[in-house]
Symmetry: C2
Subunit: 219 residues, 2 copies
């Protein structure tokens, strides 16, 4: 080893951080966090070409953030462990805390209105037992089909206009989506609250819920 162990270690740590330093790879991670998937599906979901997605996925694998296995013709990628999710989330927290730009974007998602506190997963689980809560899964139907919180109703943003009038005015609604970098749930909550409904966001998304060891259902 020609360089010092210290420098070699820092190089490795930097490799992990570098893997997280491109939006394309963050999108891929968000998708993989929904559940393991092949390259083509991930490329579709993220809008990347297949070759490009493949190369990003290999970068993530080199950094130890995802793992892959071959299944017939396909190569299936998954998060290597829950720490990857924790790392994605901590980056989000640091960015939200320290970057004015992030706050501006989040405020924009809430249309200037103050977003209500989000609902913790513990709180939602308790409400679920009581039965006094409506859960909206704001992800695309195919992701909902793969796995969702039991009892959740799949409602995309486009559906909201149609569905909002059918909801009892006082009823409590909790919306969730993909996880660390979820944006849909903000928008859904904003739209629902504009109509006077009592809607809040779930803290985290499906991957975090599952990671807590809570139940999920497939269609």
């Amino acid at each position: 080893m020609s360089i010092s162990p210290k420098a070699a270690l820092l190089e490795e740590y930097a490799l992990v951080a570098r893997a997280l330093s491109a939006p394309a790879r963050l999108m891929l991670l968000e998708q993989i966090a929904q559940g393991e998937r092949g390259v083509e599906a991930l490329a579709d979901k993220t809008g990347l070409t297949i070759a490009n997605a493949s190369q990003h996925l290999q970068a993530l694998r080199r950094a130890g953030l995802v793992a892959s296995r071959r299944d017939g013709k396909s190569v299936i990628y998954r998060l290597s462990d829950a720490r990857t999710l924790a790392l994605m989330d901590l980056i989000r927290v640091v960015a939200e805390r320290n970057l004015a730009q992030v706050e501006r974007i989040l405020r924009g998602l809430s249309d200037g209105a103050d977003a209500p506190e989000s609902v913790t997963r513990d709180e939602l689980a308790a409400r679920l037992v009581e039965g006094f809560v409506t859960i909206f899964d704001v992800r695309p139907p195919d992701e909902f089909a793969m796995s969702h919180i039991p009892g959740a109703r799949n409602v995309t943003l486009a559906d909201l206009d149609r569905i909002a009038p059918t909801l009892a005015p006082g009823s409590e609604i909790v919306a969730y989506c993909r996880g660390p970098y979820c944006v849909y749930a903000y928008q859904a909550v904003t739209a629902l609250r504009k109509r006077g409904l009592n809607a809040r966001r779930l803290e985290g998304g499906l991957p975090e819920w599952r990671e807590d060891g809570r139940q999920v259902t497939a269609l």
Copy 2:
């Protein structure tokens, strides 16, 4: 805003990760974690030129990982909050868990021998009260002078040969250094154990100890 809020958010998160994606910046962060410092001191400690260090520091500030204030002629940088430290540490954990190369380097630091479990900060605090433990601060004297664990003795790696024979064979020694990316403490522990002494590493380093709200002393 011409791009979607989602893309804008991911761009910001990627900015945070990118700030951590260069070894030079990780070194700077490690130094800043010891305590706030000016540009020249940080450049000295990391071996960077002043202009280069200044630019890296600005990248860290743009990412919200450090903050700065002017003090007379100097600009003093500090970690913006404890989450920065948590983020550095989580990256280390992920790398240690998932990258074979990191394990190889750490094994090399222990000279092939299995490193003993590290001592938690709680455990060390308890031992300190009992008084049955010798603490070695393995950092350079100037960093020791700025701040250290009360009762610790400043022993650099070069001092070990001289000091080891003066230690009672059964006595328990705990070594610590800079923090998330500490390497000295591994080397010190290895050297001491080769001489049959009962040495272990402290989990984390001085910044983590201080962050726990425990006492530190200056010279």
